[in-house]
């Protein structure tokens, strides 16, 4: 089986500093890392690889992005490929997806494509589904775990509010995994040294059979960045017209009305019985018998 993994090199969010006045980002302070979700995807691919299987790591990016491909080689990827148009300064999700899908198509279509479900840079989370669209493959997002079952993949997907869902998808497919799905292994020193000298193949637009016009997608007419704004949380404030004593009492109660509940006391045995009777009464536990 041939497994392809899409990787991206991006600034560590902890080093992204936004000027509070202008909203400008100081690029000189950024440190670059491999996207954690992509690292999890790479690890899952390496774990899945049988002796006759192949793992290819791909990225879209300038020459600096070679570093993450070298890291991928060092931990055990068999082949790597970088795709880039010289002179470009950035890519949008649609461009990234188109370049990756075209590169896979022109070199060799894998049996499975793994990628991170969301990057820590733009973080659109659209790239997996867009690649799937360009390859006409099925896609599954937000995967926390999966197993291979013949020509199917059984997956566990993260839902909102702590729930998960179980499902299956036919191969070939795009599987987008969460950062927590696996922790990338460490590379040995000899492998790192070897990867340091490896030649990284690069493909540009003409090799992919694309023209710059193909990379034009509808874009916003205006764009700006600013420090993050969070909706303020509403907290309780006491009524200003009340005398100080009342206000203090209100602050103490946090504005939450007192309940006219029952207060009981007695031996621990009786207390436990009271609690269980109350829980059963409200339907939280089943009554005995």
């Amino acid at each position: 089986m041939h497994i392809a993994v899409c990787l991206s090199r991006l600034p560590d969010p902890n080093t992204v500093e936004v000027d509070p006045l202008t909203g400008a980002v100081d690029a000189s302070r950024m440190l670059y890392i491999l996207n954690p979700a992509d690292a999890a995807a790479l690890e899952r691919a390496l774990q899945l690889r049988a002796p006759e299987d192949r793992v290819t790591a791909l990225t879209v990016g300038p020459a600096e992005a070679d570093s993450i491909l070298r890291d991928a080689l060092a931990v055990g990827a068999d082949d790597v490929l970088r795709v880039w148009e010289e002179g470009r300064t950035s890519t949008r999700p649609a461009v990234t997806a188109l370049l990756l899908a075209t590169a896979l198509r022109t070199t060799e279509l894998p049996d499975m494509l793994l990628c991170g479900t969301r990057s820590l840079a733009t973080g659109s989370g659209k790239v997996p589904a867009l690649i799937a669209e360009y390859l006409d493959w099925p896609v599954v997002t937000d995967i926390v775990d999966f197993t291979l079952q013949g020509s199917m993949v059984r997956f566990l997907r993260r839902l909102a509010k702590g729930a998960r869902s179980e499902g299956e998808v036919m191969l070939p497919a795009v599987l987008a995994v969460e950062a927590g799905a696996a922790a990338l292994r460490y590379a040995g020193l000899p492998d790192l040294m070897k990867a340091k000298r490896a030649a990284i193949p690069v493909q540009d637009l003409s090799e992919l059979g694309l023209s710059p016009v193909d990379l034009n997608f509808p874009a916003p007419t205006a764009q700006a960045t600013m420090p993050p704004y969070r909706r303020p949380r509403e907290i309780f404030v006491p009524e200003a017209s009340l005398p100080p004593h009342e206000r203090v009492l209100q602050v103490m109660s946090a504005g939450i009305a007192q309940k006219s509940g029952r207060i009981v006391s007695g031996s621990p045995e009786q207390a436990a019985d009271q609690i269980i009777a109350f829980l059963a009464d409200r339907g939280f536990v089943d009554r005995a018998g």
Partner: protein, 351 residues
């Protein structure tokens, strides 16, 4: 221009996801004062009853897309069922929750239509007479981006959940409800969901927990907290506590409740050794049923409780555990969470 805004609803376990209602509130704001309409597309099976809730939260028109194959999510199925519906509606703008489901099929639609699709939005609106505008988070929330499109461009917005909050519904508000029954062949769906697994009470975020057992300074030690952890597991509850307990290292710092911690709204809240300082009470206002156990009969926490017990938790909890285990052996596991108390009126609003 009278904008026609379309919201794509998401249903999980026969319930509307709060994120859908957040999108609906955002859509309502977009059309207010412009004489526009808000239409909701509700895919699923046997979900027509939810149309009423959508109307109360601001939908003018609800299009139920019903098919047995849409009972559980499939990206292929959603695309096959909804692309024709959306094409007929020709909405000016599309809003959907930014969820794993949405990100599996909406980007594909956006590629087919060459429609800009903005994910992770904190805010979406229309400026003046038809310039779509979005604010979105990037770089893991470290940066906010503001995007504006040319007038009249159809844009899809995927709204980050839990940003806006769900406003209170308007009782009795009506909407036009229509049914679409697409022709679908589930055999052509390459991906499908088999079942949904409920959240694990041990790991779920306190904010989403349905039952909480919490401990305060009266717990006395990490061992005391472990006792409560056992009780929480027996009751199918999540363990939380006060800031004091977390500061002493008895609890992880994402597990404390109050002004500076989590604001919770469980169906059942049991407090052990919690005196009830205002800072803690401010975090539990949404709780439905409260039980408090404290040695001090004058503790404010007891006045907040439906059942207040004056006594020592170290003596009570072991007996309680024994009795609960005896009960569990005598009958089945704890009663199903959903049946415990009547459905709460979406108390997620002020979170």
């Amino acid at each position: 221009m009278a904008p026609h805004v379309l919201v794509i609803a998401e249903v999980e376990q026969d319930r509307l996801m709060p994120a859908t209602l957040e999108c609906l509130a955002e859509a309502r704001d977009m059309v207010s004062g412009r004489d526009g309409t808000v239409q909701v597309v509700l895919p699923g099976f046997g979900v027509t009853a939810l149309a009423e809730t959508l109307a109360e939260h601001g939908a003018d028109r609800v299009t139920v897309v019903e098919h047995a194959a849409l009972e559980r999510f499939s990206a292929d199925g959603w695309l096959q069922a909804l692309e024709p519906v959306l094409r007929d509606v020709r909405p000016a703008l599309i809003l959907a929750p930014d969820s794993g489901y949405g990100r599996a099929w909406l980007p594909r639609l956006s590629a087919r239509w060459r429609m800009p699709l903005v994910t992770n939005c904190s805010r979406a609106k229309v400026i003046e007479d038809g310039y779509p505008e979005a604010y979105r988070f990037s770089h893991d929330g470290r940066l906010h981006e503001r995007l504006i499109w040319a007038r009249g461009v159809r844009v899809g917005f995927m709204m980050a959940p839990d940003v806006r909050g769900v406003p209170a519904p308007k009782r009795g508000r009506q909407a036009v409800i229509e049914m679409v029954r697409p022709m679908l062949d589930p055999a052509t769906f390459r991906d499908r969901t088999l079942r949904t697994l409920p959240p694990d009470p041990r790991t779920v975020d306190l904010v989403d927990a349905e039952r909480i057992v919490s401990g305060g300074l009266g717990v006395g030690s990490a061992d005391g907290m472990n006792l409560l952890r056992t009780l929480a597991e027996t009751l199918g509850a999540t363990l939380g506590g006060t800031r004091v307990a977390a500061d002493r290292g008895w609890l992880p710092s994402d597990r404390f409740i109050g002004t500076t911690g989590k604001i919770v709204a469980p169906k059942l809240y049991i407090a052990f050794g919690v005196s009830g300082a205002g800072q803690h009470l401010a975090g539990i206002g949404g709780s439905q049923v409260v039980i408090a156990v404290n040695t001090d009969g004058t503790a404010p926490m007891l006045k907040m409780a439906d059942l207040g017990v004056v006594g020592d938790l170290h003596a009570i909890v072991p007996i309680l555990l024994k009795k609960l285990e005896a009960l569990a052996q005598g009958s089945a596991a704890p009663a199903a969470l959903a049946d415990a108390v009547p459905e709460r009126e979406l108390a997620v609003a002020g979170r």
